[in-house]
Amino acid sequence: MSNVFGEAYGLTTISPIIDGRTDGVHHAQELRATLARLPRGRHSPFASVSGTHTARWFVVDDLISEAYPAKEDHLNSKYLVFIADFDGALEQYVSSLVASIPEVIDSVWGHCVGYPGSSRPLAVLDYVRDCQVNTTLYFGGYPGASVENVLRALLVQREAIQFVEQTRQLPSGELQAAFRRFRDRMEKAPTPAPGSM
């Protein structure tokens, strides 16, 4: 039962979607439309939730049945699955979500049964825990590296190529000085925006 791999936490939640319509709005359909309209890439709301490596939502309308001799299997509700890989502990991440992107999570989980709303952060944490299913086996390709580590490393990688190209012809002493300046610049450089690398 391991939700953690290296420094990363893998959260899986399954939330029942409110059945049918309320005030004419069909929850499952509106939820899908909302997800389709969310900005992507560097404009994604998750870019402002620090420590998010990846995040996804998908709707489970029903289970997929296998052929004979498997028994037919159905769900009585539709469910929204949320899967995220992030740095740090669950509690701190959920409060990040509530603090950074309250309207977004309200517009998505607002279609789910029992969601308390971002105005009640502690209740949201309880809600997430109630919806959480523990990961059985979790695997990451770069354990121990936080989002910040990765973004900064990618920046160094990009700049290093330029550095190598520009300093090819320099004599040894000047190269050494240039290298020191390069390291200095890298240390002081702002972390690239999530979703931009």
């Binding site: 029942p16 059945d19 890439g41 990846t54 289970l63 299997d73 899967i83 490393a153 290093a160 190598v164």
Partner: protein, 245 residues
């Protein structure tokens, strides 16, 4: 149906676990996790399972992957008039982020770690085995759920790019320390040596020509203004009758 974010693909599948076989399924994962401990690795060196675990790492196109057993009682119920769920089967939810197109990825798994795939999925109903590959692909595809929204913090970077970048940073620190007080005339030679050791870490990242544009919206926020010209109206009417060409 945006399964893609730049170079990353979000894959999700729910597969039913045979009745009474949840314990076996869990055991398979325990074995795999145990195999990741070096001591156990040494003890079980001959076991191909261990080799498979290492191979999984070596395949190095996975950012994050997880397997979750969803028991029959795990489907949340908050009352509120919501009908509860206790399906016939327990399910295994497999969710991963990897690079490349999904067929290429599944292809590699079937070819390289069939033992590992079998160990994980053997308890699943209808699983045909990792080989032959066409049946494996069909089973996986049939049980795939497309992603409705996908975000990756590094859409333009593949896993090996990231690992290369992290290695570069580590090596650069070590190199800087090593050459802290070296004579200026000797620096260039050392730098050449350092370059050679990191030549595989200097990946150019960025949008791959075939990859998705991660910034592009799936659906525009504002409705597209309707073209009211006669030609467009006629086309709309035709579409209404015949469907898209």
């Amino acid at each position: 149906m945006p399964n893609l974010a730049g170079k990353s693909y979000a894959f999700n599948a729910f597969t039913p676990i045979g009745r009474g076989r949840v314990f076996l399924c869990r055991l398979a994962f325990v074995l795999i996790r145990l195999a990741s401990f070096k001591i156990v690795q040494k003890l079980l060196y001959k076991v191909s399972l261990v080799a498979d675990q290492q191979r999984l790492v070596d395949l190095s196109f996975i950012h994050f992957a997880r397997w979750t057993i969803v028991r029959r009682r795990d489907w949340p119920n908050f009352g509120d008039g919501q009908p509860g769920d206790s399906p016939v089967y327990a399910y295994m939810l497999f969710a991963s982020n990897f690079n490349g197109q999904w067929e290429q990825y599944i292809d590699a798994f079937s070819a390289v770690v069939p033992g590992g795939m079998d160990l994980i999925w053997n308890t699943n109903v209808g699983y045909p085995g990792a080989k032959p590959i066409t049946r494996f692909l069909a089973y996986i595809r049939q049980n795939q759920f497309d992603t409705d929204y996908y975000y990756s913090a590094y859409p333009h970077s593949a896993t090996s790019d990231i690992r290369g970048a992290l290695d570069l940073v580590a090596q650069m620190s070590a190199f800087a320390e090593r050459t802290e007080s070296i004579a200026p005339t000797k620096f260039k030679d050392e730098f050449e040596r350092f370059l050679i050791s990191v030549s595989h870490d200097l990946s150019t990242t960025g949008r791959a020509p075939w990859a998705d544009d991660p910034d592009e919206p799936i659906m525009p926020r504002t409705p597209i203004p309707r073209d009211e010209s006669p030609a467009a109206v006629e086309q709309d009417e035709q579409l209404a009758v015949w469907g898209p060409a």
